[in-house]
Every structure is written in structure tokens, then in C-alpha cells.
Amino acid sequence: MELVLAISIATLAGSGVWLLLRPRTYQVIVGLSLISYAVNLFIFSMGRLRHDAAPVLSGQTGNLADYADPVPQALVLTAIVIGFATTALFLVVLLASRGLTGTDHVDGREPE
């Protein structure tokens, strides 16, 4: 499981960085989203990977070893929410930029 997760984080981050370096705004947004997915998975893995373990106490006090670490899950949730908001806001501005400049190049004009 660790290997699969590591490879997916690496793939997401790598693709994200490549897209981030592209000249079109849409690619940049997708790149930023991919990087944030990679980071979210990374945060998740920082709580140690567990199988079949709930993060919430189920009524009775039990052995701590039966539960997954809830903090990274809360962090991921927060990061997702914030990432969602910034991406949405960013989309609006970039569409405005597209409307004003007539191009989706990040510099606001086509290279000569």
C-alpha cells in the first residue's frame, strides 16, 4: 500500500509541476489542482497508513491501537475546502482575464 501511495503522490506532483510550467492558464489551474491532490495524499499518509481503522471513537473507550489518527483527516478536509475555494476564485479571475485579453496565455498576450 505504501508503494502505491508513494507512486501516486509522485505521479500527481510530477504531472502537476509539469502543467504548472505550461504557458496556458487552464493548464496552470489543473496543475495547481493536481499538486494540491498530491499534497492532500501526503498529509493523509503522515498519519501513518492504517487498514480497517476508524478515526472516530465509537461510543466505548477502546484501545488506541484500534483507531486511525483523526488529525490528518481533519487537515486534509480543511486543505480540500481551501483548495476548492481558491481554485474557484482563480477560475473566475482567469475567465475575466480571458475575456479582457482574448487569450489564455499566462502573460495576457501571445508570444511573438
Binding site: A85, A88, L89, V92, L95, A96, G99
Partner: protein, 139 residues
Amino acid sequence: MRTLIFRTAAPYLSSLMLLFSVFVLLRGHNEPGGGFIGGLIAASAFAILGIAYGAPAVRRAMYFHPMAISGFGLFLSALSGLLSYAFRVPFLTGLWTSVHVLGVEVDLSTVMFFDIGVYLVVVGSITSIALALEEREDG
């Protein structure tokens, strides 16, 4: 996107989604769900309506400006945290009470009002962004 089928179905779909979003909001108390998810569902309902009838129609239907709704949500959340001050407990402490309405016991808590605030913030801001995107498409 303004086909007859879609235009006919959209109001029913949106009202169902709005209802469902309130259900998810209240359910979120002890089970999966909550203000953010509920708010997203409601915002998608408005977005669907916007696709079918255009953004101006949705703005008229909402009556309040989306950002004003968002502001009210923020205010409500802050207020439910501030209530802690009166009880000498730290900010954002959950306070509980139950009231009897028509013989039914209803649990009320600052947590719930905080969540409703979150719901409104999400509905307001995401709807406002979605409508801005849809207007851009129309124009």
C-alpha cells in the same frame, strides 16, 4: 443547454437538492454530512437552475445577494462562537440546551448554529462564483 426536457426538470431537481442539502446539513451532526457538504449541494442546485434559466433568473429567485447570504453565515458562525463568552468558557465551546416544541424534545447547540453558518457561507460564496462563471459564458 436550454432544452425543453432540462428546463422542465431543473426546478424539480433543484428543489429536491435544496431539501436534501438541509437534510445533509442537519445529519452532519453525528454522521457524515455537515455544513460544507450541504452547502455545496445547495450551491449546485442553484448552479443547475442557472444553467437552465440563466443567472439573472437565479439572482431574482434567491432574492438576497449570494455574498450577503455568505456574510450572514459568517456572522452567525462568529456569533455562535461568541456565545461562549457569556458562559465563561473558551471561544467556540459547544453549548447545549434542549427545548420542548409541541411535545417533542429538540436538542439545540451552538455547534449546530455554527454549522448552519458554514452552510450559508458555502451556499453564498460558491453560488456567487458559479453565477459569475455562468454569466461570463452567456455574455
